[in-house]
Amino acid sequence: MALITYREAIKQALDEEIQRDENVCIMGEEVAQYNGAYKVTEGLWEKHGDKRVIDTPISEAAFSGLAIGASMLGVRPVIEMMFMSFSYVAIDQLFNNASFCRYMSGGLMNVPIVVRGPANGGTNVGATHSHTPENMVANHPGLKVVCPSNAYDAKGLMKAAIRDNDPVFVMENTLLYGEKWEVPEEEYIVELGVANILKEGTDMTIISHGRCAMLSLQAAKTLEEKHGISVEVVDLRSIRPLDEETILNSVKKTGRALLVEENKPYCGVDAQISHIIQLKAFDYLDGPIHRVSAIDAPQIYAKPLEDWQIPNEERIITGALKCLS
């Protein structure tokens, strides 16, 4: 096992997949000669050249649509959104064309593209650069979306996404790019639709995804040490497809659920998770399901306020204690 950053893990996945399949290419703003705005693609252009690692102009709608069209003829483009927030200018391409072409053609085609890039707040950049649109993506049947919380998952999910024959969004996180985790040297894949139990516990379940899963894990450790509460932490990893079984088994075991995500609460991913739990594990619940989400306002710029707006350990602990009260 090697201790590598989340950024390095994604780069390894891209590098290995470019080498494995001649149809895999990566395109986006600054991905090639500049080495990536967040250095995720650093060195890949030098190694693989112009054909496989392609700088685009600032034209998300054009290069997203181009990637979709190319995928219809067997190219497997990975497109980088410098920020997932920028995908909003390509919504028609991504949410109409990538998601629905297969359906509207009665299954005559498929769109094997990956849309990847950071989707997170907490970086002091204001509302336009802080979106977490996994809920919007998941609301479009035809699209898939994953949110890796650590380097191991980032690499394994990225490889699975590239090999998948449907459009997959990989939601990364700039605050995780520099964090390190153990990652095996040998090749592995993390399948879509399989959640990960980060920590076992008996008193309550925290269900989370992305960086919030890591915050939840920290909070769970504090809850155990300071409050003597045994918390199970489920990291969804994949939002659509969704591992309902792991969610339900955990809640059935503990009887209590706290849902933690960086999304705004209204129609967030956890609104759906909450519904699934009440529908399928109602009789096992010992109390209402609680949620910790971003405080429901556009992302604020001021750093101390933004740090409070998105979930943090303190807010998660407060939420957990509410669940148990």
Partner: protein, 368 residues
């Protein structure tokens, strides 16, 4: 670097000259008698098919929108007739003509509009979303200009894979003012992508005339801003369409260069059939004048009668065959079943549809 061919003035001049000039062009002269008859067959086939679909729409058999191509038939017919093995096409929602031109059957197209399981998209797409990837036809797209970057992508794939071919992406004159199209023009010129954009300029983006929607009436001219070649021609004469488009397509295939082609055409019907007021934003005389002098069906028929390819009797026979085929397609559509409800959730994910050994993990659909 692209050398823009600014031939708009000369082509306009040619258009007013004797139309048979284009028939004499090498690309048209090389057509066999049978190939010329096929062009007539395609053009009149589209006309008769759409006339029949209009009746079905008015009878309430076809739902949603019905964007008729009547008046524009020579454009798709001419360009599709130039397609080679590795050429691909894509268009917007006025897509019936292109579908029939690539060889889709009237049955599958009519059934799709009726929403039936026997339709080309199993009733999942409707009038605006016809597809036939096996015939290099990639739709049929409902959002104005949304198909233009996809067309660039088809062409990108050809270049990426080292295949000699081009993509033709059709759009309307209303689509030129969408941002995605202008972004795409820049990208294809910058990267040297073998795509030909064909603006089918019928003069109206829905009920808004060109004058009221575009700051400059010469739309192809915009290519200059992207250092891209362009040309303008007429769309009622299939031989003119073929002569001009052939140059653009050849250039794309051989030099990996994009081209913007504006074809001036006209639609007799409204934007869609629901656009009942179409005679309010233009005059009856305007429509009648086009029908009298530039109707694509009449123009090709007269050309082929003049050069001895067709006789009145053969023309009539082909017309009748197409009427019968259209009538039969309506009957086929009427008698076909709707897809079973279980089909609502198929064709969403490739991986789910192909999960024969049940290996997929997780929930894909979220119904209670």
């Amino acid at each position: 670097m692209a050398t823009p061919k600014k031939k708009s003035a000369s082509t306009t001049k040619k258009a007013t000259a004797k139309i048979t000039d284009f028939a004499a062009a090498p690309i048209n002269k090389s057509l066999s008698k049978e190939e010329k008859i096929d062009l007539y067959r395609t053009i009149i086939g589209i006309r008769r098919f759409e006339e029949r679909s209009l009746r079905a729409y008015n009878q309430g058999k076809i739902g949603g929108f019905l964007h008729l191509y009547i008046g524009q038939e020579a454009v798709a017919s001419g360009i599709v007739s130039l397609m080679e093995e590795n050429d691909h096409i894509i268009t917007a929602y006025r897509d019936h003509g292109h579908a029939l031109a690539v060889g889709m059957s009237m049955n599958e197209c009519m059934a799709e509009m009726f929403g039936k399981h026997t339709g080309c998209s199993k009733g999942k797409g409707g009038s605006m979303h016809f597809f036939a990837p096996d015939k290099n036809y990639w739709g049929g797209h409902g959002i104005v200009a949304g198909q233009t970057p996809l067309g660039a992508g088809l062409a990108f794939a050809l270049k990426y894979k080292g295949l000699k071919g081009c993509a033709i992406a059709f759009l309307g004159d209303g689509a030129v003012n969408q941002g995605s199209f202008m972004e795409t023009l820049n990208l294809v010129s910058l990267w040297g992508i073998p795509v030909v954009f064909v603006i089918e300029n019928n003069g109206y983006s829905m009920g808004t005339s060109l004058k009221r929607s575009s700051a400059k009436e010469n739309l192809a001219h915009r290519a200059d801003g992207f250092d891209m070649a362009w040309e303008v021609c007429n769309g009622h004469d299939v031989f003119e369409v073929r002569e001009v488009a052939n140059r653009a397509m050849k250039r794309a295939r051989e030099e990996h260069k994009p081209f913007l082609l504006e074809i001036q055409t006209y639609r007799y019907r409204g934007h869609s059939v629901a656009d009942a007021n179409h005679e309010k934003y233009r005059t009856k005389e305007e429509i009648e004048e086009y029908k009298r002098t530039k109707d694509p069906v009449n123009v090709i028929k007269q050309q082929l009668l003049d050069d001895g390819t067709l006789t009145e009797a053969l023309a009539k026979k082909i017309d009748q065959e197409k009427k019968d085929e259209a009538e039969a397609s309506a009957k086929f559509a009427e008698e076909s079943p709707y897809a079973p409800r279980s089909e609502i959730q198929t064709d969403v994910y490739w991986e789910v549809d192909n999960d024969t050994d049940n290996k997929l993990k997780g929930t894909y659909f979220f119904n209670d």
